[in-house]
Amino acid sequence: MNTPNSSLLSIRHLQIGFKLHGEPLFSAVSGVSFEVPQRSTVALVGESGSGKSVTALSILGLLPKTITRIDPKSEILWQGQNLLHATQAQLRAVRGKDISIIFQEPMSSLNPVFTVGDQLIEGLRLHLGLSQRQANARAAELLHEVGIPEPVRRMGAYPHQLSGGQQQRVMIAMAIGCEPKLLIADEPTTALDVTIQRQILDLIADLQQRLHMSVLFITHDLTLVGEIADQVVVMKSGLVRETGLVQDLFHAPQDAYTRALLACRPPLHGRPHRLRVIDDFISGGLTPVEGVVGVRPHAGSDPMRGLTPPDDILLDVRDIKKDFCIPHGLWGHRLFHAVKGATFQLARGKTVGIVGESGSGKTTLGLLLMGLHAANGGSALFQGHDLLKPLSSDTLAMKRRIQIVFQNPYASLNPRFTVEQILMEPLMLHGIGKNAAERADLVRQLLLRVGLPVESLYRYPHEFSGGQRQRIAIARCLTVKPEILICDESVSALDVSVQAQVLNLLKDLQDEFHMSYIFISHDLAVVRYMSDQILVMSEGEVVEQGDADTVFDHPQHAYTQKLLAAIPNGVKWGQTPLGV
C-alpha cells in the first residue's frame, strides 16, 4: 500500500524559504518527503515553526508568491504532474475540485458578506458547471451531509450567524462539494472547543470513509492523531523526524523527539509528579531542566490531594457573581450573567483548577479575584479582608499578594522595557531591597530561579520565545512575593514540549514558596495535572466541583462526562491509553 504507484500525492525533497525585503532567506521547510496513499489519512504533526502548515499550503500553491522561494528540485507529484510547475490555470482546475483544503479559523476563512449558500454554490458552478438551481439543490444536500440542521434555511445565513462548529462544517461542505480525492485539513479543530472538536473529527473520519478520499491532517496535537490517522509524519524545524504507521509510532517511537512529544503531555489518567520534557529525551538520560537551580522535591512524595483538615484556608470565595450590561432595544439594557455564583476555598500551597469551554466564565472569575472587574455580589475573604469591597489602603497591599500570569506571552510583557526594567519596576514601586545593588541581586536570583540566563536582563521581550516570556512573566509575579498566583490559560498558547517545562517550573515554585494557585484552563489534562480541587464551569455556572481525582475518575454531572468523553486520548484500536 505504500508503493509510489498507489500513492495519490507524493512530496519529494520539498524545500521552501521566505525572502522578505532586505532580509536573509528564512528556510521554513528544508527537504521534506512523504507520500499520501489513496483512501487513507496521513497526519502531519509538529509544533509551531516545524513547517507543517507551509508544506500543506504549498501543495495548492497558496503561499504568498512574492516572498516564497521554492527550491527548483522540489516535487509535489499529483497524478504524474508536478504541481509546483503547474500554470495558474492548471492549478485552478485542481483547487477545490481534486484537492480541497479547510483551515484553522472558520470564521475568517468564510467571506463575511456572502451567504453560506452563495459561497457553496460558487465552487459547484465553477468546477461542475451546474445551473443555479442544480447548484442550490446540491448545496443544500451538502449542508445536510455535514450535519447542519435545516439546510435549506441555513443557505441564506451569513457566516457570523453560525457557531464556530457550524462554520467549520460549512467549510467542510465547501471542500467536499466536488468530491475531491484529497482533503487537506490545516489544524481544523484548534480554534474550537473540545466537545465541538470531537464532532468535527468524527465528521471528517466519516466523510473520508464515505467519499473514499484521502485526508492530509495537519495538527500540533499528537493525541488527535491517534484517533484519526493511518500514517503519521512528525516534523520539527522544517525536517521530517519520523514517518510510520500510527500503531508503530505510538507503541515504538523511533525518534527521540517523537518519544518526547508523546511523553510530555500530562496524562488524563494517573498523575506523575513531574512531566518529562524534550531535553530528557534529546540529550538522553533524565537530566534536570536547563538552568533550573534550587531543590527538586523528592520524587514520589506526592502531597495529599484535595482539602485536608489541617490545611490553612487562604482564600474563601462565597457566591461570587458578575453580570455584564449589554445595550438592548431602544434605551434598554440586557444583563448577561457571566458568573452565576461560585463558591470555593483555596488552601495554602494547594491549587484550585477551573475548567470550562469558551464563554463559561472561567476567565471572568479570575479577573474578579484580581479586582480587574467589579463583582456584583458575593464575597472573597483573603485572610479576613474582603477583596470585593471598595479599596482601602490595606486591601491594596493585600491585592499585591495575588498575582496573575496571563495566556498570551506576546502581550503580557511591555515591549519597550528590558527584562531588567520589567523585573526592577515592582521592586522600586514597593521599595523592596535597600539599594540598587541589592535589587539588582534579587532580580538576578529570580531570573536564574525561573531558568533564564543572567544575560537576559539586558534584552527586550521580542527577543524571547513564548515559553521564555512566560518565565519572565512568572518572575515578575515572584518579585512581590505573592501568596496566590492566578494562572489564566498560562500555558495554552505554548507548544506541548514547552508547556511541560513551564508546568514543571510552576510545580517547583509552588513547593518552594508555598504559593496557592488558581489554575484556569480549557485543557482538562493540564488542569488535572496541576490541581487539588476542581471547578467545572459551563455558561457561568459551576456545574461540578470537588477533589480533582474524584471529579475526573467519577464525573457526576452530565456536562463533565461529556467533556471528558470528548477528549481525544489516542485510542483507535483499543490500545492502552497514552501516558507515561
Binding site: 512574492t66 485542481v94 483547487r95 480541497s100 476563512s109 467571506n111 458578506v113 465552487g123 451569513y158 457570523h160
Partner: protein, 312 residues
Amino acid sequence: MIAYLMRRIWQMIPTLLGVVLLVFFLFNWVGGDPAYVLAGKMASPEDIANIRHQLGIDRPLWEQLWIFIRQIVSGDFGDSWSTHEPVSQIFRTRLGPSMTLLIPLMILETAVAVLIALLVSAFRGSLLDRSLMVASTMVMSISLLVYIIVGQYVFASVLGWFPVKGWSQQLSQNLTTYAVLPVLLGLLVSVAPSLRLYRTFILDEVGQDYVRTARAKGVSEMRILWVHVLRNAGIPIVTNLLMGLPALLTGAFLLERFFAIPGIGREIILAVERSDFPIIKAATVYVAMATLVANLLGDMLYRVLDPRVNLD
C-alpha cells in the same frame, strides 16, 4: 433598526447643542464687538450704540443665545450685513452651482480612484504599485492653488480651451462649458488621497483568510478581486463617500472663487473677507447639521451593507 435610529438621533442632540454653543461663544464672546466693524471708521459713539441695539448685543448673553437658537430653529438669520440680502435666500440660490460642480467631481473621483486602487492592489509591491504611490504623493503635494493658477492661465487664458471664468443660468451649459476645467483641476488634487485610502481598504481585504479560501476553491484572481474583495472593501468606500459630502460642500471654495462660480464656498470666503457674521454663523451651524445627518446616514448604510453589524 428603528430603535437604533432613534437612539442615534437622540445622541445627536448634545453634539448639536455643542456646535451651537461653540459658534455662539466664538462670535459673541471671542470676537469682540462687531459694531465697530459694521459702523466703519468714522462712526460716532451714538452710531455704535445704535448698531449695538439693532444687533441685540447690548442685551445679556443668555438673551443673545436665546435669539441665536430661535434663528437656527426658524431658519431666519436675518439679512447679510454687507449685501442686505436675506441669508436664507443666499444659501438657497448658491446651493445649485455648488452641486453642479461637486456631484460630477465626486462621481469621477470615486470611479477613477476605485479603478486605479483595484489595479494597483492586484500588483501589490510591484514597480507599478510603488511608482503610482510615489506619483500620487507628488501630485498631492502640489498645492491646489498652484494647479488652479497654472491651469486657469494655460488652458483658459493662453490656449483658450475653456472660458476663464463665468457661470450661466442653464445647467447644461454649465456642465459642458463652465464646470469642466474646475472639475478636472479638482480631480487632479482629490483623486490621489482617495486612491491611497481605497488602496488600503482593498489591501486590508486582500490579506484576509477568505481570499485564501476563494483561491483554494479555484476561483480566478479577477473574480476574487471584483467579487470577493470589492464587495467587502466597497462598504467602507461607500460610507466614507457619504460622510464626506458636507465637507466637500465647503471644500471647493477655491475652485468657486477662482472661476467665479456663485456657490456656497465662494460665499463663505466673501463673508469672511467682509466680516459678514450672519452668513458665517448660518453656514457653520447648517453645515454642521448636514455633517451629523450624513454621519448618521453613513452609519445606517454601513449597517445595511454589512451583514455582520447587528441591526438592533
